[in-house]
Amino acid sequence: MSTGSVEVVYRGIFQKTLAKNICRGIVFAAKNEGKIGIAFGRYSDSPERNGIPAKQFAVVADTEEEMEEHLSRYEPDNNDVTIAADDTLCKGVESWAWYGLQPINKLLTEGGTLLVASTRSADKLIGEIHRKGKPYNLATVKGTASFSGLWVYKDDHTDVRLLGALAKVAPHLVSLDSIVATISDPLKVTSAKKAYDLVESVSVNTDQGNDEVPFEFEMPGWTKMEEGLVIRGMAGQQEVPGRDGGYVPTRNPTFKKFSTRTMRPVVNFDTCTQCKICWLQCPDSCFDITPDGFYDANMEACCGCGVCEAVCPVSQCITMVNEEAFTDNAGQWEMWTKDKESYSGWLSEKISQPPARTHGFHHLGQYAEEIANDPS
């Protein structure tokens, strides 16, 4: 007699269908075992926004009473398995419905498993994941993050592979046989079984991981709000030491948006012509104006949409690079002014790594081409 739950943390819209397929798969597999299952999205993540982290849950129970007891909570706060459908979510999750950054393993139960789809090693991922006060396991399924859009789904078997791996790391929830019984396509059955065999799991201790304290905000309770729900405005400009003559706009202090990012722009200041187009066209106003008239993408405000790269008239001046290649949110202009030569080396090292990511639909037939060219 027991209940269990799985949360799927994913990139809003880009992986909405993927997350839905995983949660539905769990429910149907549970039914095959005579259990009861239910799948639902986190209410406050709706409406989803492209790239902003969101969650869906699947709950499995042996009896109806246990299911009812479980569902009397707002949402599962203690999960047997957390699935991160994109490995850059390991850096932290700032949903659009709450405040501050939450560690990806926050809702994971002691001894539970964080299951990540990634091409990177467990060691690399552990370096990014915030420390947890309790031991847990980290399991990885090899693969790039599968992104598509709201209408056209990229059916590259990521859903069944994660389901196969789930059966290995949490056999008490669903077995591989019952997962396989829900899949009609024989090719997908092979993918699920392969993932079951190949998933790698390591245990993570309390002293392993990123020791940074994620940022938090205290929001006023309803008794503290002003009459008419007035929010006090921000001042027009920030004082930034060492940036005399530059301009840094005030930024909303309670939402930073950088955990939305899966790629980030790197700027070659040596070829920049100071045309200002990136600064003007950035929907997130993320470019700070430097005293010498350059435009420096602020990595706390940048959500990695790639518009700056698309509008930049200079070839390879702004390049989008996979977020995996970075461990911090340091400013690039400061690095460049300190030491131009080493910046140039840093830059060419970063842009030499191809992005291996896209943000969805470019043209008709593209997903089929991508699947055909994907070695995994």
Partner: protein, 337 residues
Amino acid sequence: MQETTIALSDFISTQVLEPWKGIKKVAREEYFTSGHRTCQGCESALVMKLMAKAAGPRSIILGATGCMYVANTTYYSTPWVVPWMHTQLGSAGSAATGTVAALRAMMRKGKMEEEPINVISFCGDGGGADMGLSAISAALQHTHYNLLIFMYDNESYANTDIQVSGSSPYGANSTFSPPGKVHRIMHRRWKKNTAAMLAAGHPDCKYVATVTAGNAIDTMNKVRRALTIGGPTFIHSLDPCPKGWDYDPKYSHELGELATETGIWPLYEVEEGKVKMYGKSKHIASGAFKRKPVREYLLRQGRFAHFVEEDIDYFQAKVDEMWEKWLVPGVIPFAQA
């Protein structure tokens, strides 16, 4: 950034906002700043930024329900620097008239200093072209009120996950019109011609323009022109929506430009009874620029991924008709009988 003002004792003065001639002249201050919860590459967020930047610090901005309300003001957290207020879905027009009337009354009674304050009320295509149309129509008849209604049109109810609006294009996939095996095209209405309808139908409306944020300087200058002219004014912006149109967010800028280059989205302004095309649309109208085929625009978006040649041809024929048969090409439909 200091703006000179024309002081008129009857409260109908406006701020004089000269057009910005080139990107170097654009003010660097942001009045809609970072930290909004919109999608990656959200063009409507860019439009809000440009609109607020163009209007300057002495502005009040009102917003009807939609993405730009929900994503920008979630529980005590906001990227707005200028005063902002939410109003209900259909009331962009009434909120604007009410705010201007209140400002006038406060100034008349000496409760606040007399000064021209920009009042902009924005709405999405759901709030503007559908639900709020009557209130906007009423607002555009108040000759003595200085207000700008700004409609950001992402061609669906995008905030609630993409339902069809009066502004959705023919055949687009949406939550209300998913293509099926029996019926491929579930949305058969042609997009509502909102800007021209309001311009043609409201003789007291001082200024109407269509914009797209891919053309940022023009977009800001149209806002500045509208606010300088004063009286009731209306701007309609086409905003590519990476979520609902289903494309890689980095193409937001490019798709806005393509919409103009294919002739689907004509750029024009109507002032004192004269319609004037600008940007690429001017060259399309004069014949100096040949319209790109609509397929270049359509096949870049997942919402049209179910289109077959027949649908593309139909779409092309409708756009051709707009430029070749209409009384005022791209603006006023009807051919002469």
